[in-house]
């Protein structure tokens, strides 16, 4: 009675998640085999153990470190390259065939070369994440630049903004920001998926992805499931945080942000 739609929605959400947890718990108790399906309470116990030992914290920091390296380089390469390809037609024609050949190769296929070039270091893991993240960023930046409304470029020109450099930074780049933000967001999603694979080959003895494999080897499925949930939760937090930053600062000028 008298509840706002917002509160109603919240209640529905909480009920839905709570029901899922209860059903999970019941099924896990019926099966009663921890190595096939750990129960919710077992996962919570495992989680608390990991938190109190400080282990989980180190794992998260390690994974985020790899992720930051990969994303940082992907942004630093993807955006400028996308700008160049989107603005200079000759450059686009020269570079596009190379990109189209490399782009379809799954990031995980780069693991052998990542190890060969960077050794078993954080840079090898960062490289795999980079390969996963760079193409969505590049392609979206490119598309954003290509779709710069002609009337905005021409308005700039008649208002004295003539040089390529000025047109790129004062008109095309701000016009492309929504597309670039989408690219970064998609790139982060792909990059985070690559974290699990990147840690698989043992660049570190910490990391969320690494721990999934290690606990799997030891058949501690409650630990595996805990790390899986943490992996998903962090992706969610990163995505929400990014969306918030984009909406509040980057693209405040936009109605209904696209990302």
């Amino acid at each position: 009675m008298g509840q706002s739609p917002d509160i109603k929605r919240r209640i529905l959400e909480i009920t839905s998640i709570a029901s899922a947890i209860i059903i999970w718990e019941i099924i896990a108790r019926i099966i009663n085999k921890k190595y096939i399906l750990p129960s919710f309470t077992e996962v919570v116990t495992a989680f608390l153990k990991l938190v109190s030992g400080g282990e989980l914290y180190r794992d998260i920091i390690t994974s985020l470190n790899f992720f930051a390296i990969g994303m940082g380089v992907a942004i630093a390469v993807g955006i400028p390259l996308g700008i160049m390809m989107g603005w200079f037609k000759t450059f686009d024609k020269a570079v596009d065939p190379i990109i189209e050949v490399i782009r379809p190769i799954p990031p995980l296929a780069w693991i052998p070369f990542a190890i060969l070039w960077f050794g078993l270091t954080k840079y090898a893991a960062g490289f795999v994440i980079f390969v996963g993240a760079v193409f969505p960023i590049l392609v979206n930046t490119y598309t954003g630049f290509r779709n710069t409304p002609r009337v905005l470029v021409e308005s700039g020109k008649v208002l004295g903004c003539i040089k390529n450099r000025d047109l790129i930074f004062r008109i095309a780049l701000p016009a492309a920001l929504p597309a670039i933000a989408t690219g970064v967001r998609v790139g982060m999603g792909v990059g985070w998926m690559c974290v699990v694979a990147a840690e698989m080959f043992g660049v570190s003895t910490y990391g969320i992805g690494y721990k999934i494999w290690r606990w799997n080897d030891l058949h501690h499925m409650d630990m595996v499931l805990t790390y899986m949930l943490v992996l998903g939760f962090i992706a969610l937090v990163i995505d929400r945080l990014f969306r918030y930053i984009v909406q509040e600062w980057w693209l405040k000028w936009q109605t209904g942000v696209v990302v």
């Binding site: 409304p149 009337v151 905005l152 021409e154 308005s155 700039g156 020109k157 008649v158 208002l159 004295g160 903004c161 003539i162 000025d166 004062r170 008109i171 701000p174 016009a175 920001l177 693209l251 405040k252 000028w253 936009q254 109605t255």
Partner: protein
């Protein structure tokens, strides 16, 4: 002040066809004159305006503003586009300061000048708003202020009120005349509407259907403010409609 001699422009389509957009255009516009271009769709009037703006190049002919040839966009010509052309990521005030930024005028000074122009178009209250918060008519008023702040000699307007409703349109026409009288600019104004031309123009240039030629240059000497429904205005309107009617028929055929 604006002089166009023997100007021609032909487009080449992808199929290799030639489309003559403008053929042998000769036109002289006096200082502070308000000129309307009118003609059937596709008659090349927008092309001519874009060539004057420096956004396109003619195939042949000469084109001068104050005896200086036009080689590209320049600060002596401002333009208001038919589509909404404000930069959506800039506030209203920052849209207006844009050309002054390009001229490297210090921030406090350019904002002061811009606020004056914002006041001129009656939108001082909206300085910090973003374009998406404005109505269509308000957007075009900001676009006019943005073009005028650069202090051009000629203001080029490509159907600037085409997308707004009839009442707003009438009000904008009034405001434009007020601004024109205050700022004393030469205005070239494209319109589809004979009524608009009769209300605004000192001189109406009627274009033929493709290929675009100038069919008639008609002077309107009626004093302002003009009564839209006066006997004299109706006579001018009838004459223009008759001239234009033949062309629109030709364009359909």
């Amino acid at each position: 002040m604006l002089s166009i001699k023997n100007l021609n422009k032909t487009y080449h389509t992808e199929e290799g066809d030639e489309v003559v957009a403008l053929s042998d255009i000769n036109l002289d516009v006096a200082d502070k004159e308000f000129v309307c271009f009118i003609g059937p769709s596709g008659c090349g009037k927008t092309t001519l305006l874009r060539i004057i703006a420096g956004l396109e190049e003619p195939d042949s002919g000469t084109l001068t503003v104050n005896n200086e040839p036009i080689t590209g966009p320049g600060p002596n010509r401002g333009m208001v586009f038919q589509e909404y052309s404000l930069f959506p990521w800039r506030t209203v005030l920052k849209n207006i300061t844009f050309s002054l930024e390009m001229k490297k005028i210090p921030k406090s000074e350019r904002e002061k000048i811009s606020r004056d122009f914002l006041e001129l178009v009656g939108l001082s209250k909206f300085a910090e708003s973003y374009p998406h918060e404005l109505s269509g008519g308000m957007k075009q008023r900001v676009a006019i202020a943005r073009a005028l702040v650069n202090d051009p000699d000629v203001l080029l307007m490509d159907e600037p009120f085409g997308a707004v409703d009839a009442q707003t349109r009438n009000r904008l026409q009034h405001e434009l005349l007020n601004i024109w009288e205050k700022k004393k600019k030469t205005v070239l104004f494209i319109t589809h509407s004979v009524d608009e031309a009769v209300f605004l123009a000192d001189k109406v240039v009627v274009f033929t259907a493709r290929p675009g030629r100038i069919k008639e240059v008609f002077s309107i000497d009626l004093p302002r403010p003009r009564e839209r429904t006066s006997f004299e205005a109706n006579a001018v309107r009838e004459h223009l409609l008759a001239t234009l009617g033949a062309e629109i028929q030709a364009a359909i055929d």
